[in-house]
Each structure stands twice: as structure tokens, then as C-alpha cells.
Amino acid sequence: MVVWTDAERAAITGVFKKLDYDFVGLNALGRCLIVYPWTRRYFATFGNLFNADSIMGNAKVAAHGKVVLTGLETAMKNMDNIKNSFAPLSALHSEKLHVDPDNFGLLADCITIVVAAQMGSAFTADVQAAWQKFLAVVVSALGRQYH
């Protein structure tokens, strides 16, 4: 079971208060598709993903970025039970979407980098530690139902 200190909870909810879901969603997913181009394999129906400009201008990428962020918000609201509350999402990613779970870590890294850019100096080392712990728990939960 994951144990969260009060400081960690405060740091994580603090990040969410400052998060612009549209901006972070598009930029994090967009960067994932640009920095780790093999991740494009999962988005064949998204149309033009051939270069950075087309990715960042792609409405489906923007929409899906927001879906991802909304999923993270669900985790934040269920911080003491992420593992179980994410079981259906994990099954979805495994059985329907067939996403290699290693990719979750790549997207998590991009989310962290975009959040850092958005928050600037407010993204202190303490906040980064709590945030990355939170993302690690989400990533682990998403990989749990794979078999």
C-alpha cells in the first residue's frame, strides 16, 4: 500500500491546482510523440503525426492529452486507492489498446518536463519528488492488469 505524507499530498494537489489541462495535455502527449517517435504506433487513427509541427497542431492529440490529464486527476482524487481504481483502465490499455507498459514511463517523463516548464521555480525538488512518486504509482497501476 502506498503511504503518502501530508507534505506529499499537499504538493500533488498543489500541482493540480496550477495545471492547465489543455496546455499540459497537448504538450506532454505531443512531446512524447516527438521525443519517442515509436509511440506513434498507438495513434494510427490520429492522422498526420509526421513531424513536430503537425503533431502539435493535431486536434486529436490535443483532445487525447486532455483525456490523459483527466485520468491523472482521477488518480489524484483516489490517491489512497489508485491501484484498484485504475484496474479497469489497466485492462483497457492491455486488452483493447495493446500498449507496451514501458511507454507509460515515457509519457510520465514528458508530463514532468512540461509541468516543470509551466510551474517554473514553484516546481521545487520536494514537489518534483512527490509528483514523480505519484506518477510512478499511476504507471504501476496501469501495468498491473497485464497478463
Binding site: D102, L106, I113, A116, F123, A129
Partner: protein, 169 residues
């Protein structure tokens, strides 16, 4: 018409944040990426010491297992003299990488020997420090750290790490 990457499974996709023990394969830098790196780095170089200090502080705090390499320091807190000094040393090494971008293993051979024979830092930690450097660059240079610069720098730091690992065994 879908993405050309649909059916491609790069083996490198298995090497990630959560598999730190396995180093990533080299993905060569294009001429354009080298230009991007050089030009971005010239913007960063004035604040190199701050970047190094911030990245190192974050590494020690966010990944406490990395503190095991610094048990000989009297002070590991952010702002302390050893952390500042070492952050600067690290970025000087990164700069050496930029200066030898056309042949990193040859250019960084001395640093590789140092890490392999003397320091014996587990190579999984290179990925950790690289990530912290990218986070700090993103924070300090949000306008310049575009997605194109991001991918070029990520590849560059991966290749630096591989060059540093050359002499390990």
C-alpha cells in the same frame, strides 16, 4: 492513411525510465540536431553552474539512492559547497560532450575511464541525472526548450551516458 510507425517496434522502446539497469541503444544525432544542441547550449552556458547545481540537488532529493555515491561529502543539502561545486563539474563534462559531439566515445574517453575505474557509478544513474538535467532546462528555458530541442538533448545526453559507459567492461 496512418502513421508509418504503426507497425514498427523499436527495441529501444523497452528501455525506459522503469528499466534503468539497461542502457539505451545509441540513436545517432543528425547534423540538424547537432546544430540545435550547439545553439541551445550557447544560450545555456551563461547559467551552466545554476543548471548543474539544480539538476544535482534534484537528483539527490528525488532519487535518494544516488546519495550513496557521496557519503564522503560533509554536506549534501542544496546550496551547500560540495553540491554547487559538483554541479559545476558535471556541466563542464556536458560541455565537453558538446565540444566533442562528432565523436563522443573518443572525446570523453578520460571521463569514461574515471567513471569506470575510479568512481564506478552504476550506469543506470546516468539516465536519472539526464532526466533531472532535462527537467531543469525545461524550467529555466521554457521558451527555448522546444520539442525539437527536447528530443535532440534527450538523444545527446543518452549518447553522452553511453560514451561514459564505454570503459566499464
Amino acid at each position: 492513411m496512418g502513421s508509418v510507425f504503426t507497425l514498427l517496434r523499436h527495441p529501444q522502446s523497452a528501455f525506459t525510465f522503469f528499466s534503468p539497469l539497461i542502457p539505451r541503444a545509441t540513436m545517432s544525432l543528425s547534423a540538424k540536431e547537432k546544430d540545435l544542441i550547439r545553439s541551445f547550449f550557447s544560450k545555456v552556458s551563461g547559467k551552466m553552474d545554476v543548471v548543474g547545481h539544480e539538476a544535482l540537488s534534484r537528483m539527490l532529493m528525488v532519487y535518494p539512492q544516488t546519495k550513496t555515491y557521496f557519503s564522503h561529502w560533509k554536506d549534501l543539502t542544496p546550496g551547500s559547497e560540495p553540491v554547487r561545486k559538483h554541479g559545476k563539474t558535471i556541466m563542464e563534462g556536458v560541455k565537453e560532450g558538446v565540444n566533442n559531439i562528432d565523436d563522443l566515445p573518443a572525446g570523453l574517453v578520460n571521463l569514461s575511464e574515471l567513471h569506470a575505474y575510479t568512481l564506478r557509478v552504476d550506469p543506470s544513474n546516468f539516465k536519472i541525472l539526464s532526466h533531472c538535467i532535462l527537467v531543469v532546462l525545461s524550467m529555466m528555458f521554457p521558451g527555448d526548450f522546444t520539442p525539437e530541442v527536447h528530443v535532440a538533448m534527450d538523444k545527446f545526453l543518452t549518447n553522452v551516458a553511453l560514451a561514459l559507459s564505454e570503459k566499464y567492461r
